[in-house]
């Protein structure tokens, strides 16, 4: 059985998280999962849309769901997937609210397309652990990440709210832990695995980010981790690109690489830099990877 999904990359995949999008596509290709990009997809509205108006948020998502409906007329799809938890929450919340006929009618009228919105909507991570199964991932591993100590960081909304997200455990998710263990990494218990990094307050209230993301970096270091592994573009940006701001504000000296899980999976599968894009990370993982046996000079 081959899997085929409508793929929603999200805006950050075009810029700040290009390495997440690229490594996700490369990983899915290696796993035989077919991704068909939703043609001419638009921004889901992210936090600003739902914080300004729920109807606007649903309409921005609605156009994408409508295009995906058209795709499903042409070929069989196993669902809609996205790597980004923020996009995911908006897509799933909208699908949930469209179950109300009056709201559905209102959204259809504004979007100007008929909406079925019945395709299952999942994260790429959920597809890997539930639809495909991580055993398939284990088969790809050529260079196990032996000796790499990591903490998995899910962010808040990959699993929350559970009524909408319907994935893993809302307090102690294990999908990423299990996946990283299959790659051969040493996965350390991480009490802050679903704590908030401060999300989109980075631009407007840096004090909130430096405190919350600083706490996550501190805890990762305290746990003995060499690196943090994320599944969220905004978490990754806050922990990685803003790490210098965090160090400055908190008088800390973190040099903690923050990977996307898809980059590490690619690395373990023997993919090169064109797929893993490790050089996109602001805190370079090169010294760490060079120190690991079997990975010296990998992917450079």
């Amino acid at each position: 059985m081959s899997l085929c999904y409508a793929y929603y990359p999200g805006c950050s995949g075009l810029g700040t998280s290009l390495e997440y999008d690229t490594s996700t596509r490369a990983l899915c290709k290696d796993l035989g999962i077919e991704l068909v990009e939703i043609p001419d997809w638009n921004c889901c509205g992210s936090t600003p849309a739902h914080a300004v108006d729920h109807l606007l948020s649903a309409c921005l998502v609605g156009r994408n769901l409508g295009i995906a409906d058209d795709m499903a007329e042409e070929r069989e799809l196993d669902g809609i997937i996205t790597p980004c938890p923020s996009c995911l929450k908006n897509l799933k919340t909208t699908q949930h609210r469209l179950a109300d006929p009056e709201f559905h009618r209102k959204v259809e009228l504004i979007v100007g397309r008929p909406l079925k919105a019945e395709l299952p909507i999942k994260s790429v991570l959920q597809v890997l652990v539930e639809d495909l199964g991580i055993q398939a991932l284990a088969k790809l591993v050529q260079k196990p990440l032996a000796g790499l100590k990591v903490v998995p960081y899910y962010g808040c909304i990959m699993v929350r709210p559970p009524q909408i997200m319907q994935f893993d455990d809302a307090e102690n998710p294990m999908a990423l832990d299990n996946l990283l263990a299959e790659l051969g990494a040493e996965v350390l218990p991480f009490a802050l695995k679903t704590d908030c990094c401060g999300a989109s307050l980075g631009t407007t209230r840096k004090d909130v980010i430096t405190k919350l993301s600083g706490r996550i970096l501190d805890a990762a270091e305290e746990a003995g981790a060499d690196a943090i592994v994320t599944a969220c573009p905004l978490c990754q940006l806050n922990l990685d690109m803003r790490q210098s701001q965090i160090n400055k504000a908190n008088h800390s000296g973190h040099q903690m690489p923050v990977f996307y899980y898809s980059q590490l999976a690619g690395l373990a599968a023997g993919q090169g830099e064109a797929s893993t894009m490790l050089d996109k990370l602001c805190v370079s993982p090169r010294p760490l990877l060079a120190a690991l046996a079997g990975h010296t000079g990998e992917g450079a």
Partner: protein, 183 residues
């Protein structure tokens, strides 16, 4: 804190209930939401007190709070509420109402969201550089994240051109019809 009327505004309670589709009477002030709230340290009112203000019909105090703008939508409160109240949705609805009343206690946050949505309306997708320029123009915060610009540029993470969608007319039509509907 601005001085505010302390009267019981029952219409406000009804409005929050209608827009959030939540039953406010179910909140018995256990404080679970506040215990799990990561942004509480920056709030003027912790989230359980926001809930209480709404239950008590204190429109002015609830809508002029800073807390409703600082909520990061992490959904922890919603996840842990023992009475299944979607607290994060109530926080969303309160900022919708505050914005409609032109009460924006965290000006930068309000401006950022507006600039973000203007970028979506203009390009169909977020154009981060344009968004930042618009945000700086709205807030006068010239030095926002300038320290990140060199590293973002070096890493090719600062897109210098927008990725417009092809069917921009459709997106603009959605925004237009949305605004008509709201009137």
């Amino acid at each position: 804190m601005p001085s505010s009327p302390k009267t019981f505004d029952s219409e406000f309670i009804a409005e929050v209930q209608r827009e959030s589709e939540q039953n406010l009477a179910l909140c018995y002030q256990c404080g679970n939401c506040t215990a799990g709230c990561p942004v509480s340290f920056a709030y003027d009112y912790p989230v359980n007190q926001i809930m209480r203000l709404v239950q008590a019909g204190r429109r002015q105090e609830a809508l002029s709070s800073h807390a409703i703008w600082l909520c990061s939508s992490c959904e922890t409160c919603t996840t842990r509420c023992p009475n299944d109240i979607d607290v994060a949705r109530i926080m969303d609805v309160l900022r919708h109402m505050a914005r409609r009343d032109n009460i924006v206690s965290e000006k930068a946050v309000g401006a950022f969201w507006t600039a973000f949505l203007e970028s979506v309306e203009k390009h169909g997708r977020v154009f981060e550089l344009g968004l930042m320029a618009n945000y700086v123009g709205k807030t006068g915060r010239m030095f926002t994240d300038v320290d990140l610009a060199p590293i973002a540029l070096r890493k090719g993470k600062l897109g210098l051109k927008a990725h417009d969608i092809k069917n921009l007319a459709e997106i603009r039509g959605i925004f237009d019809r949305y605004r008509e509907q709201k009137q």
